[in-house]
């Protein structure tokens, strides 16, 4: 366990910045975003950055390959490999979310090269939480303000600086570059404070009595979905959504194949060639989002696809979010 004084943190980031692109939490127009760090003040008083760690490892739009040529002679080039990057300031829930996604992209027979290369080029230094927002519910999802999952280095904020704990081999290496800036820790009071931090939304959220098999046609979904506006705020902020779409962009005889996020709440998410839409009704789309995270994903990976970060709770204009649904599913009578 190491310790770094708060004043030395910028020096650490600056040193790491020599070999990697460094990201840090920066306040932009009153809200904190994980932004490319060029010496700005490192924000502290935030609960969670607007953009999660996912956005920097599985970006909203990334180039897959580039192609050029006429009808016969087409040349194809892979997208250039990602530069190494160090992300400081993400929260433990985001890191867990990213690890959850990493299992989807990298476990199993097919490894997604794009994701793997960018993940392996990334070192994640998360900061444990000393304060929780009314919308946080990480404990309900089996995490805590000091979870280590998915993180390479964990910082525990204290009054004068941070306790620093390397969790992975990559974490060890990154801390070697910080030699001279770190001192030995004198007690782990800051870590215990984070571990015991109470999280407002109670742990009883997760006693889901309405299982998907019984609940698929339950009128609850109709009632819930009616207020949804079918926008993409929840999915585009969610650290554990990973639906994707491929599209080509051509300019004359040159072009690029891009991969980007897709959103299951959009009306035309499952609009297929020929005009058939597998989920034309709002109820179907809203139900699918929650059943995917609470039933279908667990069936494949044995864990619920939600880390309780609270972004959907804060940003859904009509309060149609995971915390609320989990609460409802706990109370709703089976048909």
């Amino acid at each position: 366990m190491k310790f770094i004084a708060a004043a030395k943190l910028p020096l650490l980031l600056e040193r790491l910045g020599r070999h990697s692109q460094v990201y840090a939490p920066v306040a932009v127009d009153g809200r904190v975003w994980l932004s490319p760090w060029t010496g700005e003040d490192i924000a502290g008083g935030y609960v969670n950055p607007v953009n999660s760690l996912k956005t920097l490892v599985y970006p909203q739009t990334e180039a897959v390959l580039e192609f050029e040529g006429g009808e016969t002679d087409v040349t194809v080039r892979e997208a250039s490999p990602p530069a190494p990057q160090v992300i400081f300031g993400g929260r433990p829930c985001d890191a867990a979310g990213l690890d959850l996604i990493a299992r989807v992209f990298m476990e199993g027979p097919f490894v997604d090269e794009l994701f793997r290369r960018r993940r392996e080029a990334t070192t994640i230094m998360t900061v444990a939480c000393r304060q929780a927002a009314p919308s946080c519910f990480c404990r309900a999802m089996g995490l805590s303000p000091a979870s280590e999952r998915g993180s390479d280095v964990l910082f525990f904020p204290g009054p004068e600086g941070y306790l620093v704990e390397a969790l992975t081999e990559a974490g060890e290496q990154i801390l070697e570059q910080a030699a001279g800036l770190l001192d030995d820790a004198t007690g782990d009071q800051a870590r215990r404070a984070c571990q015991e931090l109470p999280v407002p939304l109670a742990g009883d959220l997760n006693t889901v009595r309405l299982t998907p098999e019984e609940g698929f046609e339950h009128p609850y979904w109709e009632h819930l979905a009616r207020r949804c506006r079918s926008c993409g705020t929840c999915t585009y902020l969610c650290p554990t959504c990973y639906c994707t779409a491929l599209f080509d962009v051509t300019r004359g005889t040159r072009g690029r194949r891009l991969r980007g996020w897709d959103c299951c709440q959009f009306k035309d998410f499952l609009l297929m060639a020929g005009g058939h839409n597998a989920r034309p009704q709002k109820k179907q789309r809203v139900r699918n989002r929650f059943l995917h995270k609470l039933s279908y994903h667990p069936a494949n990976y044995g864990e619920q696809a939600c880390v309780g970060c609270g972004r959907c709770v804060d940003n859904c204009p009509v309060c149609l979010h995971m915390a609320g649904v989990l609460k409802d599913l706990g109370e709703v009578e089976r048909a």
Partner: protein, 318 residues
């Protein structure tokens, strides 16, 4: 429970019981008192839970489009909802006989996030008294200025009551005049600083379409911005410029200034600054004194023989 709220509930119950409406849209209990939910009562029991308090925030007009709610539909209408309903009727997306408007006067809605920051704790109830807001939290009641608690859009609202309604819960207030101060502020800056401002805003855009889905004027059956020939290539600054330019132009002359787009935006982009610019120019160039109130003919759907050539006099400055 306020006197208006009880009148709302009994009226809704009576409308539903009599079959005059088969759904009543208003606000109902949510997960916390400061965030009531859009509520779709279909029977007297549902109507009995209707709420009417300063926390009722989102505009409801767009829900009339939802074919899931069997019609005819009763809807609680404050000033912004009323204009939203007029917008949908003017665009013929909703037929008049499907709507039963219950008008109510609104003096502004409390933004739960602002209230939480001001009071330092989750607000449990709120009262509006003139220029003051009484916020009650677990630790008691305190007074705060309107500006620090109300939604931004409510602070510049000029339409407390709908212009017409089938039933009224209280006496309507006359509509006021809407000003666009921030537009002039941005116009004074030089081109590069204006471009830097908008680049900073649009680079945060997630293209989550919350603004489009919230807007009572943006309800095409299939939006052109979803078609690849208009916007392809995913998220990029130039595509975000194209998205917001096109959307602002499409609602130009039709926006009802409800501010729901800016309110719903997770990246908090000041979208009303775009719509205000069009409204201010429509007012100055074509003499439409209240551009945000639907008229018989839309400003861009008509012309006058002596229309000015707005591109000549000094461009951005009025």
């Amino acid at each position: 429970m306020s006197e208006r709220e009880s009148r709302l509930r009994s009226l809704a119950e009576e409308l539903l019981a009599s079959g005059q409406v088969r759904t009543f849209i208003g606000f109902g209990p949510g997960y916390e008192p400061s965030r009531p939910l859009p509520w779709f009562a279909q029977d007297p029991a549902g109507a009995a839970q209707l709420l009417l308090n300063p926390f009722c925030g989102a505009t409801l007009a767009r829900y009339l489009l939802d074919d899931g709610s069997p019609g005819p539909v009763g809807v609680l209408a404050r000033g912004c909802d009323g204009l939203g309903i007029e917008r949908l009727l003017a665009d013929r997306r909703v037929s008049r006989d499907r709507v039963h408007v219950v008008g109510v006067t609104c003096r502004g809605a409390v933004d739960p996030d602002k209230a939480y920051r001001e009071a330092g704790d989750t607000p449990l109830s709120a009262e509006l008294e003139g220029e003051r807001v009484l916020l009650t939290t677990a630790s008691g009641t305190r007074e705060f200025p309107r500006a620090s608690c109300l939604y931004d859009r409510c602070l510049s609202c000029a339409d407390p009551s709908p212009r017409w309604a089938d039933d009224w819960l209280d006496e309507p207030l006359p509509p006021g005049k809407r000003e666009f101060p921030d537009v002039a502020g941005l116009e004074q800056q030089d081109a590069d600083r204006r471009y830097a401002f908008w680049t900073r805003q649009f680079s945060r855009c997630l293209r989550c379409h919350a603004c489009r889905q919230a807007c009572p004027a943006c309800h095409c059956v299939s939006c052109s911005l979803d078609h690849p020939e208009w916007l392809d290539g995913g998220i990029s600054l130039d595509n975000n410029f194209m998205y917001h330019f096109t959307r602002a132009y499409h609602v130009a002359g039709r926006c009802i200034a409800c501010g729901e787009c800016q309110q719903a935006c997770p990246a908090q982009i000041p979208l009303m600054l775009l719509n205000d610019k069009f409204m201010r120019d429509i007012r100055d160039l074509f003499g439409v004194c209240h551009p945000h109130r639907p008229q018989e003919k839309e400003p861009l759907g008509q012309f006058c023989p002596d229309d000015p050539e707005g591109w000549r006099e000094g461009g951005a400055q009025p």
